[in-house]
Symmetry: C2
Subunit: 120 residues, 2 copies
Amino acid sequence: MSRYSYSQLLTDGSAMKKTQEELKANILTALAHPNRIRILESLKNGVKCNCEIAPELDLEQSNLSRHLKILVQEGILVSWKEGLRVNYKVADKRIFDILAISGDVARKQAEARIEVLEEA
Amino acid sequence: MSRYSYSQLLTDGSAMKKTQEELKANILTALAHPNRIRILESLKNGVKCNCEIAPELDLEQSNLSRHLKILVQEGILVSWKEGLRVNYKVADKRIFDILAISGDVARKQAEARIEVLEEA
DNA sequence: TGACTATATGAGTATCTACTCATATAACGT
DNA sequence: ACGTTATATGAGTAGATACTCATATAGTCA
């Protein structure tokens, strides 16, 4: 069994055939970081550039740039140049459904833990 | 900015207050591995134990055990003992909605790439 | 052209992750 | 109790990730 690597699968675009599970895992890996989730929520209602998001979320410029790159590579964000800036917007609103369900599942899990505590 | 760590947040249950984004990221991180996605698909229609899943998915026993632990810790799977075995089932079917949307987004992104190639 | 702004990327680093092998634990049947 | 089966966990490792700082690139405007 070779180890699953997210970025290798990304950059290797050429070579390997990816399984359904790997394709899904790539999308989910791209979503699975609090700062990337914050970025998406910040872009929920509009278009923004790196220079607007950075101060809003208090993220270092180059770090933000790499987070944005990951989201674009997975097709979660779309970007285009406009003068000096690079604008970003969410490509597919269903991403927010994933985030909403994740929140529900997290909440439900927290409730289940409380129930276990109360039983004792 | 301190680095986001999945497992620290998991095991630290006691101490830190977690943001909404961290809670969502935890769920998504737990889902973001091809083998864990395969495990969930294998459990889609029923209850199974480690010893049934391992040969089916060709996963080494201890590796599978750790993957299952991650899914249980996040509340994605529920487990209970039955004699020697530990049975697992999916706690919340909405997990499959997340997987389905991820698949759709991945497919859509692949289609977009093909379009770009055809434009040129 | 030169100064300035916005973004991307190279290099270095601490930490994390998935994996394997070996061993421990727990529950069963005899 | 003893051997067997199912699962969990310790230790070690290769390689991946998020982050920072410094630098490169690219577009703007005087």
